[in-house]
Amino acid sequence: MPRNPEIKKVLVIGSGPIVIGQAAEFDYAGTQACRSLKEEGVEVVLLNSNPATIMTDKDIADEVYIEPLTVEVLERLIETTKPDSVLPTLGGQAGLNLAMELADSGFLETHQVRLIGTTPETIKKAEDRQEFKDTMEKIGEPCAASLVVHDVEAGVAFADEIGYPVVLRPAYTLGGSGGGIAKNEEELVEILQNGLRLSRVGEVLVERCIAGWKEIEYEVMRDGNGNVITVCNMENIDPVGVHTGDSIVVAPSQTLGDKEYQMLRSAALNIIDELQITGGCNVQFALHPENFEYCVIEVNPRVSRSSALASKATGYPIAKVAAKIALGYTLDEIPNAITGKTYASFEPMLDYCVVKLPRLPFDKFISAKRTLTTQMKATGEVMSICTSFEGALMKAIRSLEQHVDSLLSMDFSGQTDEELVERLHRVDDRRIYVIAEALRRGISYDVIHEITRIDKWFIDKIAILTEMEGRLKTEPLTGELLAEAKRMEFPDAVIGRLTERAEREIKYLRDKYDIHVAFKMVDTCAAEFAAETPYYYSCFGSENEAVGEKTRKKVLVLGSGPIRIGQGIEFDFCSVHSTWAFAEAGYETIIINNNPETVSTDFDIADKLYFEPLTPEDVENVVELEKPDGAVVQFGGQTAIGLTEALLKMGVPIFGTSARDVDAAEDRELFDRILEECCIPRPAGHTVYTCEEAIAAANELGYPVLVRPSYVLGGQGMQIAINDQDVTEFIGVINRIAQEHPILVDKYLRGKEIEVDAVCDGEEVLIPGIMEHIERAGIHSGDSISVYPAMSLADRTKRVIEEYTRRLARALHVRGLINIQFIVSNDEVYVIEVNPRSSRTVPYISKVTGIPIVKLATQVMIGKAIKELGFAPGLQPEADYVAVKMPVFSFEKIRGADIGLGPEMKSTGECLGIADTFNEALYKAFLGAGIRLPRTKKMIITVKDADKLEAADIARRFEALGYKIYATKGTAKVLNEKGVKAIRTGKLEQESPNLLDLILEHDIDLVIDTPNQGAAKSHDGFVIRRNAIETGVNVLTAIDTARALVTSLENREEGLTLIDIATVRSRGAYAGGSV
């Protein structure tokens, strides 16, 4: 079937800000799909509120709207841009829900817009619990006994009937928000109440608990002609009970025979056929480990995190093919881009093993519960490929960048056997290390399997690894043993530790025994056909098939690894743009990265892709083969920067700013000297190594002080200390993480925080714009609301900032990007941090100014001057509109995490509001972040003393908007004194109705709760904030955010103006400039 000629203009809906359960995978899918549509001559309109994405580039779509994902915006956009079709299946659950609302309301029909990809009927059948169940029953596909309930009583009654434990799944939520397993009535009531509230339609599925069964997924595709194929199947090592996003997943399935494999495959195809899906779909099954019984757990009628994983695991571009199918093509008409010879109507065959590990945020949320449940908690993931499972697992572990490089990295050797067995019952992120320790102790496979329900095949594989540890410790390191250890992907460093040798010695021995890495190709077809796409993974003991021959200059671009808080999708944006810029400049580009969710690991971004861990040893293997002319580390976040030293040792030059200058920015003494030379003030501070030194420094500076480790990203470990006890505690925390670098203690200044990204060619500096934070200093820049252009700065101050930027960039000999954070306090400009590399704000400032910063930085790195690139140096003229970047958090997903904002970053994503006025931009940004107020017009205010006066002013404004205000004793007193009617309400321990009761009654819109700084955080405050978050109440923990919100609500306007970001042009560019 050729493509439908009636489809000329398609609106693609993105997934919005990155939150847990909806991450970079949708940027990957959306970008691939948009390119696939444009390839067919279709005009693409894109809607996504997330400015850090590649899909919102003007090169990707024809019209780009970075606007809130709301029904109103979507309707407005359809009216103004007049697409003939909407493609909603690429934007995750958010996009799908939005499109469904428009379909339900009849808006699409009225405007003669069709949903392509999959029809509303199909989406309903798959997403609506009851309809899904009925459909499955009709075609004889079993589901676990279940009932859809709309109230708690019905849930309790049904659970009594089928018996505990039961699983609860709210309908229409992301990443299983609000779901869980209840073992008794008490737990059931708690989870169910919450789930009913979170569900868009107020319904929750209560079902028979099949925890402990094998969890198997199939990624399937279907075209309009009814042709169906399976792209990949995957087996979760963690049995049913752990969200697949938090599970260790292997592809293809390992413990299924052909009978089980084909039984589930046929079931998946039956289902997709019955649902009449056109495009990609994910089907999850639970398979009884001891017979052929199975249940369909869930169907996602869209691309998903799993489909991104399946695409990267097999090389089959699911989103690209899904987009072509949406246009009407059939699978046998779509060429397989990897082989260039065959067609999309085949099933990929793997000749390797793929392991995915989740990247969990417990290093950021120390107080959070580490238990893994059906509610996803991972912020990102890593994938690895090897010819053996052992090798793939080892590679995945060291890809995580969580100070782990083997199964020995989490030490449980101090536990007794009984404690270990007890620990096996805990389903958390450390379980695999506990299993390894149990195996070292000789605890039997049976015992481990009985408790964990993990298949013995996987337990045996872990045992093979622990046995190898033992052999390395006890046996002479022969060539044979070393070869075997390398075949299992033991890093040289680990072999060194186990054999009491230096890492370099292991490398020397490898050379001596001729043990070399080989690169194999991911070709979708297990070598049956010659492939054209150079997508490689490494293994040992094999023949190499990657050719390192050199025809042009070569650049190695280091990716940023898994998405985590503090290092998100923005670095992938930068890596990809840099890769494109190098390609344009005639370079052969090589990417190393291990994140399956990203655009950078798509098969056609770089000339060559190495899907590998980002450790010095793994990078060196690629370097030895490819011999690049240089490497780029500026764009890959801390991951890439961390590899600089290793690259230099390998003899690879670094493009752009030299490593010495990067160090100078991080090394306190060197940096102080530079600031002094440049006559730039900074808050007083000291570099210390011990707790005693830190306390002495703090007392000399005077509290409050900022305590932080050097060389970190996202403010990890950064805290504001108000007394000696705080300092002692924080230093303890910092030293718990392996810390080779000194600790910084700075005077904490409470002023306006300003941020600048700039490009420097060593001489001239180009500053696209100055961004101002709404929250005063003390809150991590990634968690602050950022406004461009800076609204409250005097011109004189702007000139000072421009000048300081120029001086610093020159002094640090920056070639490429630099990010500087300033504090403006009493009209004085201080520098607080300089990072000579790309930052989180680069994609956003590029888009709102129309200046392609990464491209410019890349060109500068290879020797071009800014003036040659069509731009006048200096601070660029301000744009005609205002852009507000708003952080977005995923607190409701992480039980037990403290949501109070501070110097350590906690947000998972961001969205943008862009408009002609500040107020409208701010309102859009709040909307985009999901803050839709007012609803009940009731709020709680409880603030620390320092904020009380400002809180009174804010409260008055809320009151004027019709808000009823509840406040705790101290806060209420001040508010009442200032003439604001505030109802005094008891804290937690006080009698009802206290604050908690109010929150749990779901009658509160908003909580403003500013916690005290320092370690002595009130337990009450924590409980209030947690409960508010978990009941879906908006909570603001900074007084400045609260003021911004009230301002936005006061100026709320009905008709929003939508701005096509693709038409934004830099006003500073020369006419006819080369960029």
Partner: protein, 359 residues
Amino acid sequence: MKAFLILEDGTVFSGTAIGSPREIISEIVFNTSMTGYLEVLTDPSYAGQAVVMTYPLIGNYGICHEDMESDRPWADGFLVRELSRMPSNFRSRDTIQHFLLEHDIPGIAGIDTRALTKLLRERGTMNGMITTREYSSLEEILPKIREYTPGNVVERVTCREKHVLMGDGFRVALMDFGAKRNIARSLNQRGCQVTVYPAYTKAEEILADEPDGIMLSNGPGDPKECTEIITELKKLYRTDIPTFAICLGHQLMALATGADTYKLKYGHRGGNHPVKDLETGRVYISSQNHGYVVDETSLDESVARPAFVNVNDGTNEGLSYVGKNLFTVQFHPEACPGPRDSAYLFDRFLKMMEVRKHA
């Protein structure tokens, strides 16, 4: 113990000996299925060939005897990258290591199967020797390796005696050229009573039993070597008994009706090949195992027309015979291993028998 695979072009792969220490010469072919190694080993179509599995982890779920496609393994040898030391599956009763030993089949583990597969893809299917001897000079053995041909393997694999698999529906005569069990099982499951005939049974004998339908099975080797069988098929062709043929049966019927076959460079062996039904335009993912194929250019349009085509390389995957109750496919609707998407063809066969019965 070390073991070697010596290919006819002189390439040597080394690994660890598994199974029997016996030295063998065979035709080396690769299979890309990720599951179903036991079905592959016991598929009689592999007689005269040694199989390389491209999926690197083999033996994970052990040996589940009920998955065997015949009563013994037929492959001459088995070449894998890694054998699981501890299979895990609720049905597993044995390890592949022990199974190979028991049936005296040699093999090698630890081979770079991808490198080997690429070689076979680029140079075409080759003969090879699996041995645990270290030859100092290849010159003396290479001619011997090159000389090898599988010969008339159908004779080896077909059943010795006619036997009946009971059923209360249509009576189907199954000509066993090396039939996989699931062909008869698929018919049985649809109620058919299946009478299995040795490959060299005369057409007259079959026709005398007055079957409702005739099923020609898969089997090993070069179809052109089966001259006696082709002679009998010519007679069956002249009847109007509904006939369905798979793989070798398909090739033999084509030869019996004047078409030609040729050997593919490296064959189709795996569970992911797309075949298109030319009548409906639908594409099915099929299980495949064939080294020979019917030459479409040799078809007499008035006798047979292409019914299925391979989407990957455009080779013939099935024929429908003009004016006859006869259709044949190159792929394996009986699956095992592989996708069951084309099982509907057995229903089509039943329909043909039904139509004829009511005619």
